[in-house]
């Protein structure tokens, strides 16, 4: 399976995402932001970082980069797409996911490992988990405070689209939301970094479960 990792000029978790993809035994493919080509990948990860410096708003400029047009087509066509941290911010700016990520309530950047509950395993990025499973995942962000209009939040909850939920909210997110999916459930955005907990030497490899889900998803589709 080929998994593409988008590289924006200010991405800084791209190498980590590529490494994690290798760790789950998939083939990592670098997708350069200035090339409108997904190189035939089966799934796409938008990694964390500061895409274009994020001086205006996180992800605001990245959504207009050349790689985004084929990526939007891929995502709208049902292709498994995961945005992590800044990648989540880009997906909301591109309106592939609802809502926005505001500055943390504390007004501080926060880097911390927090317990996150998997609410729904029926997405390509959570299928390897059992409902209610608790993963310990690090967050590292300044703007991770998920916000959407009340109706939108209610809709997300009703439709089971809150995929990951903080047990200890590090940023003030509405309803302790750590990750959501789109109505079609193929596009997932999450603030915690599964790719960082990818090796026992770093303390745990719990995060690989999130990424392995997409392998199982692809396997299920083939059979």
């Amino acid at each position: 399976m080929k998994i593409g990792v988008v590289i924006f000029p200010g991405a800084n978790c791209d190498a980590d995402a590529l490494y994690a993809v290798e760790r789950i035994g998939a083939e990592p493919v670098e997708l350069w932001h200035a090339e409108p080509d997904l190189k035939g990948v089966d799934a796409v990860i938008l990694p964390g970082g500061f895409s274009y410096g994020d001086y205006l708003r996180p992800g605001a400029i990245a959504r207009f980069s050349k790689v985004m047009r084929p990526l939007e087509e891929f995502a709208r066509g049902g292709g498994p797409t995961l945005g992590v941290c800044n990648g989540f911010q880009v997906l909301t700016e591109a309106r592939l996911l609802p809502g926005a990520l505001l500055q943390n309530m504390s007004l501080r950047f926060v880097c911390r490992t927090v317990p996150v509950r998997v609410e729904h395993p029926d997405t390509p990025w959570s299928g390897a988990c059992v409902p209610g499973e608790i993963l310990h995942l690090p967050v590292a962000h300044n703007e991770g405070n998920y916000f959407a209009a009340e109706e939108t939040i209610a809709q997300l909850e009703d439709e089971g689209r809150v995929i990951f939920r903080y047990l200890e909210n590090p940023n003030g997110s509405r309803n302790d939301i750590a990750g959501i999916c789109n109505a079609e459930r193929n596009v997932v955005g999450m603030m915690p970094h599964p790719e960082r907990v990818s090796d026992p030497l770093l303390g745990s490899e719990e995060g690989l479960k999130v990424l392995r889900s997409v392998l199982e998803f692809a396997g299920a589709k083939v059979h």
């Binding site: 200010g10 490494y19 500061f50 001086y55 501080r108 926060v110 300044n142 960082r196 990818s198």
Partner: protein
Amino acid sequence: MNLEETYRSLGLSDAEYARVRELLGRTPNFLELSLFSVMWSEHCGYKNSRPLLGRFPSEGGRVLQGPGENAGVVEVGEGWALAFKVESHNHPSAVEPYQGAATGVGGIIRDILAMGARPVAVLDSLRFGDPADGRVRYLFREVVRGIGGYGNPVGVPTVGGEVEFAPAYTGNPLVNAMCVGLLRVEDLMRSRAVGVGNRVILLGARTGRDGIHGATFASDELSGESEARRPNVQVGDPFAGKVLIEACLELRRRDLLVALQDLGAAGITSSASEMAAKGGVGIEIETDRVPLREGGMEPWEVMISESQERMLAVVEPERVEEVLKVAARYGLGAAVVGRVADHGELRVLCGGEVAGSVPAEYLADAPAYEREVVEPEYLKEAQRLDVEEIPVPGDFNAVLLRMLSHPNLCSRRSVWEQYDYQVRTNTVVGPGADAAVMRIKGTKLGYAVVTDGRGKWCYLDPEGGGAATVAEAYRNLSCVGAEPVALTNCLNFGSPEKPAVYYQLARSIEGMSRACEALGTPVVSGNVSLYNETSGGAVYPTPVVGMVGVLEDVSCHATPGFGREGDVVAVVGASGRASLAGSEYLEIVHGRVAGRPPEPDLALEKECADRVRRLIAEGLVDTAHDISSGGLAVALAEMAIAGGVGVEVEVGSGRRPDVELFGEAGGQILIAVPGERWDEVREALAGVPWQIIGRTGGGGLKIGGFVDLKLEELRGAYGRDLFAEETG
């Protein structure tokens, strides 16, 4: 302005100006004077410290590059090497803390990049005044934000450092940033310009008026006027910094560069003249080819601008096009701004005319001042301490909780959680331990890195304190299982023109050098920051050491937290040396900074630390912690809190209980070992002093009949938020 006023306003003394005239054999023009003024500032020229710095040992088996380059480089093994350096940004941070700290991080990252290394870890050693002071809290908050504000986006994890508070730093905080870079030995880059006819390319951001005369500013004492000089302070752009890193690494990988140098203090002037002087060549810069951010800049402004996120590269003419292509792919600015020449001068051209021309070696050879070393009067008085005058407290529980919640001893979590310490997924042990441990992907190798400073001890005993600073770094690395290899240092002192300060500088260097020799850790790079003074006087003499160590198998390392119940808890190192002199306890509880702290026994120090390190490397010990500020009781509390496992110990040498609990000496390491492994450990410790003091277990900390506290109580005191509004 007449000539005299001009050179004085640029910071040159009458004697220095006379020397310029004598060297040139003519009267310099304004541009040439500007070049001398920035290059002969203390910041660039090390006028007052250079004669003393030669004392540091700088050679060792693993050293690939010693002092004199952008950073020192040591060999790790399997073809890997580490480049590292620490540098101060004290003065800019005092005036504009966010940008001062941010550009400090950016600058040190580019120093590492200039060696051809990928920056892989940042540490920040920070010192501020009394946190009860509102402006101190503002400086502290903004410096920490600035470090994160640059380090987090640029994608280099901030894995360690220090934060300390003392009234001596009020108005003149110390902001020292260290960076470590990883490289293949064969990729080591240097800044020596060679090859007459080669092109000089300026990479990165456009040039504006940032930091004009910043280098001379950094060497002045801070006064009320400093704040009005705010426009001098440079502004950092981490996004541009990130792009610069990736582009330079690709240029290096494709072997397109002859030499590379970052642009720091004194901008193009400093970089070009150093590159030329090292290569014994000349460099011509055409200022009208430098991409500018604002109109109307004079050639001298272009030459000394300190705009951030720029590098200077020497490139063979036939490779220029390829270099420009790589830069364009990353959206990085790049312009050919000059060439290497055979005349040995830094020559500035504008509109085809020579605007100024000075032999590069003169610029690189600032005058050096040696002064007499005279013991200052304050020292005898400060060293006097009659312990009998210090009352023994009745309630040690209360004393310990008070100490654990003190800003100098409480948890630094509220600081380091604002830094991304994990990005690049190589951080094996992050902030909060004795040292950070990093892995090298694709190998079993790892390295550890730490910064240490003991300003108060250096104030009370410059030579002993200098030695203790190096010894502490050595011990910290040993506690995580790393073999200490080499160090970098940043010497933060007051005005060297004051005899007391010059004495502190000279004796601290002596003490550090002795420790380096005894411990086998050479100094491979460094930085000097003098004139750290405000109306209240000089800061504590504060040499900061950044030391790097190697782990052959990174999976065998230790952390301070107790991991199991029932472990044997032992102290390795000489007992009975702990003293209240210069201790945190004496200052926090009794309000005194006094006494002569115990001088380290360097030979024993090394033997004990090396034994512990070997036990860790062999996988026999995985829990170790250095007894440092706050003494035994604080160290035990830290281990219990970090691991979530309690401990019960006895103390019984018959000395005063406050000396036993809170006395400081250095040279001691706490280890916790499962009972079944103890015999093996004991054998390995034969010949060095050790003592079993208790066992882990229970829900709290019990020390003899003196301390009995639950883990929650310890956590409550220790876990305070240093930024909470009631701080102080």
